[in-house]
Amino acid sequence: MSDAAAHALDHHEPVTSTGIPNKKVLMWAFLGSDCMFFGTLISTHLIYRKISATVGGNFLDIRDVFDIELTSFSTFILLASSLFMALAVSAIHKGNLSSTRWMLLGTIIFGAIFLTCQVYEFTHFVYAPGNELTLSSYRGEPHVFGSTFYVLTGTHGTHVAIGVFWLLGWFVYSFTGRMSTAHAIDIECCGLYWHFVDIVWIIIFPVVYLMEYAF
C-alpha cells in the first residue's frame, strides 16, 4: 500500500475498491479532464498564431507588448507557491497544524501576487500606448491574437483565483479548532489542484510567451 493511501486510511478516509480515497480519484479524474480543456485552448492559440501571423500587412511582433521580465517574475512566484503547497500537504499529514497554516498562507500570498501580476499585465496590454492589445484588435487593427491570448491566460488566471479562494477557505477553517489530520485528504486534493495550475503555467509560459522571442 502506498504511503498516501496509508495516511488516508489512518485518517479514516473512505476508500474505493482500488484502495484510493474517493476524493482523490475524483480529483485526478477532474485534472485529466482539465488537461483536455487546456489542451484545446493552447491548440487554439497556436493555430491562430500560425494562420493569423500578420496584422495590417506586417508580421505580428507581439514582443512590443509583452513584458517578459514581469511574466518571468510571476512564473518564479507560481513555482515557489508550489513548494509551499507541497509543504502544507506534508505538514497536515504529519499533524503539524501550525506549519500547515503557515504554508497555506504562503501559497495564498504567492498565488495572490501571481494574480496581481496578471491583472497588471492585462491592464498594461490593453492600454499600452501605440501597442493596444484588446480582445479583438492589435494596434487598432482587427486581430484574433488578443482573443486566444486573453481566453487562455485568463482561464488559467481564473483557475489560480479559484485555488486561492479554496486555500483561503482552509486557512480560515484552520482557526476554528476543528481542523485535524482527518482533513489531510482535503488539503491534498487542494494541493493536487494547485500543482495542476502550476504545470499548466509551465506549458503556457514557454509556448505563449517565450516562443515569441525564438524568431
Partner: protein
C-alpha cells in the same frame, strides 16, 4: 509505487528535502529558459527544442513529486494520463492539420557586370559596366560604335540581380545579412504557388548569395535559407 513506510511522519520529513530540491531545480530550469531567450544566439528551432524539453522536464517533476504520483497508486497516473494523452492528441492533430511548408527551390544573388558592346540592342532599365562604373539605360536603343553617356544614367552602387523560385508562399522577405551592405525587400506575391521572381538591387558593395537571407511564409510556416 514505493513501498509502505514504517514511519510515515519520518518519511514526510524526508520529503521536505525532495520538495525543496525539486523547487530549486524548477527555478533553475526556468532561469535557463529565460537566459536562452535573452542570449538570442541560437536558431529558432533550437530554442523551441530546448523550451520543449525543459517544459517536459518541469512538467514531469511537478507531477511526479509535488503531486505525489511517485508514491501513489498507478490508477491515479492512468486517470491523469488518459486526459493528457487525449489533450496531446488534439494538440498535434490541430497543429499539423493542412500543414504545407514552403520550399525555397532556388535563390541567387549575382552581380550584373555585362560590359557595354557596340551594336547591341539595349532596353530601358538594362545595366552595363564601363570602366568600373555602372550605368542604366534610360531608353530603348541600339549602341553606337563608341561609348557615350547620352542614353545612360550612372548608378551610385553596384547592380545585382536577385532571383528566387519558391514552391508556395504568401509573404516573401529578402534582406542582407551584412549591415554595411544594406538591402531589404518584402512583398506579397499575387500568385501563391510556383512563385518565380527577381529584382535588381543597387548595393553599396559587391554581394554574394550567402550574404542574403530569404524568408518565405505560407500560412504560418516561415522557412528561410541560411
Amino acid at each position: 509505487m514505493s513501498g509502505h513506510s514504517e514511519d510515515p511522519v519520518a518519511e514526510e520529513s524526508q520529503r521536505f528535502f525532495t520538495f525543496f530540491n525539486l523547487s530549486m531545480v524548477l527555478v533553475a530550469i526556468t532561469g535557463l529558459e529565460i537566459v536562452i531567450i535573452y542570449v538570442q544566439s541560437f536558431e529558432g528551432s533550437t530554442i523551441i527544442g530546448v523550451l520543449f524539453a525543459t517544459s517536459i522536464l518541469k512538467f514531469i517533476g511537478v507531477v511526479w513529486w509535488f503531486m505525489h504520483l511517485r508514491w501513489d497508486k498507478i490508477l491515479n497516473t492512468v486517470l491523469f494520463l488518459m486526459g493528457l494523452v487525449i489533450a496531446l492528441g488534439t494538440f498535434f492533430a490541430v497543429i499539423f492539420m493542412a500543414d504545407e511548408h514552403p520550399v525555397v527551390e532556388e535563390f541567387k544573388v549575382t552581380k550584373i557586370e555585362d560590359d557595354w558592346k557596340s551594336g547591341t540592342d539595349y532596353k530601358s532599365g538594362d545595366f552595363v559596366a564601363v570602366d568600373d562604373k555602372f550605368y542604366q539605360a534610360s531608353a530603348d536603343h541600339t549602341a553606337d560604335k563608341n561609348w557615350s553617356k547620352d542614353m545612360w544614367n550612372e548608378v551610385s552602387g553596384i547592380p545585382h540581380l536577385i532571383s528566387w523560385k519558391i514552391s508556395t508562399a504568401d509573404l516573401i522577405e529578402i534582406n542582407s545579412k551584412r549591415p554595411e551592405n544594406p538591402f531589404y525587400y518584402q512583398y506579397n506575391p499575387a500568385q501563391q504557388d510556383g512563385i518565380v521572381g527577381n529584382r535588381v538591387a543597387i548595393l553599396d558593395e559587391e554581394g554574394k548569395t550567402e550574404d542574403f537571407r530569404i524568408k518565405v511564409r505560407s500560412e504560418a510556416f516561415w522557412v528561410e535559407n541560411n
